[in-house]
Amino acid sequence: MPSFTGPGANPYWNSVGPYVSQPQKSPLLLLTDRGVQLETPRSYFQTAFTPNHAFYVRWHLEGIPNAVDLKTWRLHVEGNVAQPVSYSLADLIRKFPAESIAAVNQCSGNSRSRLEPRVPGGQWGNGAMGNARWTGVRLRELLHAAAPKTGSLQIQFQGLESGAGSEGYGSHFFLKSFDLGDPVLDECIVAYAMNGEPLPMLNGFPVRLVVPGYFATYWMKCLTWIRVLDKTDDNFWMKTAYRIPDTPRGNTTPGDVKAGTVKMIPINRMPVRSFLISPDGDAKIPAGMPVQVRGIAFSGFGGVAKVEVSTDGLKTWQLARFGEDFGRYSFRTWEFTWTPKAPGRNTLAVRASDSAGNTQPDQPVWNPGGYLWNRIERQDYFVGAAE
C-alpha cells in the first residue's frame, strides 16, 4: 500500500495506514497514535453488529483515560438545575430501567478521503463507523431527576478526555451540546454496555452518550459531566468545528467558502448510505457462477426502505434482499445474487433509500470539513473465463 493517498481521491475502500495494536482491540488500521484514531477494516462489516474489539476509535485530544476507578467515578448532572445529582455506575445499573437500542455510530468525517479537492483532517476511508446494541439509562430520566431550572437553554456533555491546550481553548476540553428542547434527547441513552459487554476504554468506558441517528461527534465517550446551560454553548467544538453548510446535502464549493457566502450550522443527522462489503474484489469470479453479494445500509433519517444494486453502470437497478431488522437506527444487512455473464471488468453499484424518501445520489459532496459523504458506492470485479 502507498503511505498516503492524494492529491486525488483515495481509491481504496479503507484508509491506507498499517495494522496496529492497541489495548482491547484487534489489529485495526492506524490513522494517528496520539490521540488515538483507528479505522475498522472492511471485512468486519459482514455482520449487522460490529464487534467491540474491531470498533473504530476516534479521540480529539491526547489525554485519553488509561484507568477509571469506579469507587470515585461519578456521572454528574449539574449546572442550571434545582438538584445537582451524581451517579455511580452501580446507581445507573440498579436505579433505572435498562434500555437497549441498536444504533450506528459513524464519525462525521467517515470517507473524508473521497473528497476532491482533498480537505485536511482524519483521512478516513469507509471504516469510521460501526453498529452496536447499546444498553443503558434514558438521558431524559437523569435530566428529570436533576430538575433543570426555567430559562435553561442547552445541555452540554463532557467526558474524561483532555488536552495540552490552555483552558478556554478547544485543545483543552472536548465539549458538545444540544438544545434542551431537541427531540433527539428523548431517544438518547447513557450506555454502560456495548453489544452486551462493558465498553472498551477506547470506545468510552464506563459510559458514553448514544444519540441515535446522529453523527458520532455527539456520542460523548467516558461521559462524566452533563451540564444544563442557561446560554448557548459557544465552545470551539460547537461554534467552529463540526459545522456543515446549510445547503442540500451540505454541499458547497471552495470558491463559495472563500467568498464567505456559506451559512454554516452544526452537523446533525447522518444521510442514508449503503456499502458493498463482500466479495471485496480481491479475487476473480468465474463467468456464469452465481455469487452472493453482501453489504450493509443505514440512515439517520429513520430506517432503510430499500437497497438496490446496479450491474449495468447505474442504468437499471434491482432490489436487494434485506437481512434481519434490528431497528431503524441499526445497520441493515442486504444480499444480492449476481451471475456475471462474460469475462472482463464488471462494476457493481449499490444505493439505498430511507423511509424519509432520501435516495443516495451519484453526485459527490464537498464541504471544508469533509463531512456527509454519501455518494453511491461502486465495486469493480474481475470476471474470468470458466472454460
Binding site: P2, S3, F4, T5, G6, P7, N10, G17, P18, Y19, V20, S21, Q22, P23, Q24, P27, L30, L31, T32, D33, R34, G35, V36, L61, E62, I64, N66, A67, V68, D69, L70, K71, S113, R118, P120, G122, Q123, G163, A164, G165, S166, G168, Y169, G170, S171, H172, P198, M201, L202, F205, P206, F236, T240
Partner: protein, 139 residues
C-alpha cells in the same frame, strides 16, 4: 489386419492426447509458491493482568511515531506539533496546497492556542510546504 492397425493408431493417438492434456493441466496448476515475509512487525499483546478492585485499567496506548522528512525546520515542527498531538497528524494528510498548510498552522496557534512564536511558526510553515504539498511530497 486393417482393423488391428486402426486399433493401434487410435490407442497411440489417444495416449498422446491424454499425455498432452496431463501436461497442460499440470502447467495450469501452480503449486508451492512461497515468498519470505517480515515477522513480528505487529506483536501479539500478552493477556492483561487484572485485579478484582474498582480500578478498570488498560495498558499504555502504543506509539507509532511517523518519521518526518529530513530538512530545515524539522526539529521545530516535531517539537511544537508534538505538544498536543503525534506527528502522524502531518503524514496522514494528503498532499495539501501551500496555503492550506499555512492555514493549518494558523488554526493551531490562533484557534487552538498552540504556544508557537511567529518566528517558529514561519519556519514550520516553510518546512511543511517544502515537503508535504502536491509538488513536494514523496511516497
Amino acid at each position: 489386419m486393417q482393423l488391428v492397425k486402426r486399433y493401434f493408431a487410435l490407442l497411440f493417438g489417444g495416449s498422446l492426447v491424454i499425455v498432452l492434456a496431463a501436461g497442460l493441466l499440470f502447467a495450469q496448476v501452480k503449486r508451492g509458491n512461497y515468498a519470505p515475509a517480515t515477522l513480528g512487525q505487529l506483536q501479539q499483546p500478552p493477556p492483561a493482568t487484572l485485579t478484582d478492585d474498582s480500578v478498570y485499567q488498560v495498558s499504555a496506548y502504543q506509539l507509532y511515531p511517523a518519521e518526518l522528512e529530513e530538512g530545515e525546520g524539522r526539529a521545530e515542527t516535531e517539537s511544537f506539533c508534538s505538544l498536543c498531538h503525534g506527528t502522524r497528524y502531518i503524514t496522514m494528510q494528503p498532499p495539501l496546497p501551500a496555503a492550506a498548510w499555512e492555514a493549518e498552522v494558523t488554526k493551531m496557534r490562533k484557534t487552538l492556542g498552540a504556544p508557537i512564536s511567529d518566528e517558529s511558526a514561519a519556519l514550520i510553515v516553510k518546512y511543511l510546504q517544502a515537503h508535504y504539498t502536491p509538488d513536494t511530497r514523496k511516497q
